[in-house]
Symmetry: C2
Subunit: 168 residues, 2 copies
């Protein structure tokens, strides 16, 4: 039987490059627009978007992590910076002394409310408006298939990094 070819065919290669490139270029463009007309980073925006969608404007860090699919250390660094900018505060959770609550401050709410409309316009301009509704649905289906496959085929976990597994 023929083994799988080592290389991608020109057509496959083109598909692969287009896929990676399109996303990357689009992400770069949107980041620059966002930063230029609102001073927010993509990371800032994501945090503020999630927080502002929650009535209380306050979430445990753990939940933020889960919603954003971020590593906890990344969230910790990011929230420290945002606290210095006055967008949020980290306060201790009375229900669990280990946990910390991330609370949206007025400055943070103002920032996201100022930034969001223009950002959404840019998403439309560079993505949504280029596709018919049917194409949009196809694209969603294919991308979700890729995501689904990644989810059900997890990365081989790195044999717990904490305990160094020594024999004294």
């Amino acid at each position: 039987m023929p083994t799988e070819p080592t290389w991608l065919s020109p057509r496959e290669d083109r598909a692969w490059r287009a896929f990676m490139h399109a996303h990357h270029q689009l992400a770069v463009r949107l980041r620059r627009h966002l930063l230029e007309d609102s001073g927010l980073t993509e990371a800032d925006y994501e945090i503020l978007a999630v927080l502002s969608e929650h009535a209380t404007g306050s979430l445990p860090a753990r939940e933020l992590c889960a919603l954003l699919q971020w590593e906890k250390s990344r969230l910790s660094h990011q929230t420290r910076r945002m606290q210095e900018h006055g967008f949020i505060v980290r306060e201790t959770n009375p229900a669990d002394a280990r946990s910390s609550m991330i609370r949206l401050l007025p400055a943070g709410r103002r920032a996201i409310e100022d930034a969001a409309p223009q950002h959404v316009r840019n998403v439309r301009r560079h993505f949504i408006d280029l596709l018919t509704p049917a194409e949009l649905d196809i694209l969603t289906a294919l991308n979700e298939r890729i995501l689904g496959h990644l989810a059900e085929d997890p990365f081989p976990e790195h044999s717990t990094p904490d305990e160094p597994a020594l024999s004294p």
Copy 2:
């Protein structure tokens, strides 16, 4: 006339999230595989791939920049690191004393030749194999449309950063 809605519809939002997420998750996965089974970074891989495709194994930095669509400073940092790893050397270009040539070293060629087959397998496993040829072509067309739009609608250039435009 109805103005454009400020927010994305649920369907649009889903499409947008799937697009961004699928690419990001896939990129993360491939980076981890690559690093784990060949010790190469994505950036290393890209450089080595381009160099190894050229018969001479040597290119002016400027051309590498253009091929990879990288910033020149990024290339400079990256090539310095890779020179320290012994994958490449930077040598002066006899034809133009400003320019520097990036030359692939044997260790670099060995590295890319060892890494490529497994990397291609991973691209197939997590991307190509999930799609029928027809779907692959559709996806290519849509992604290339997005790329084309970005290309013909360039980011408003930042009023030349170098000259500070002062009035003495």
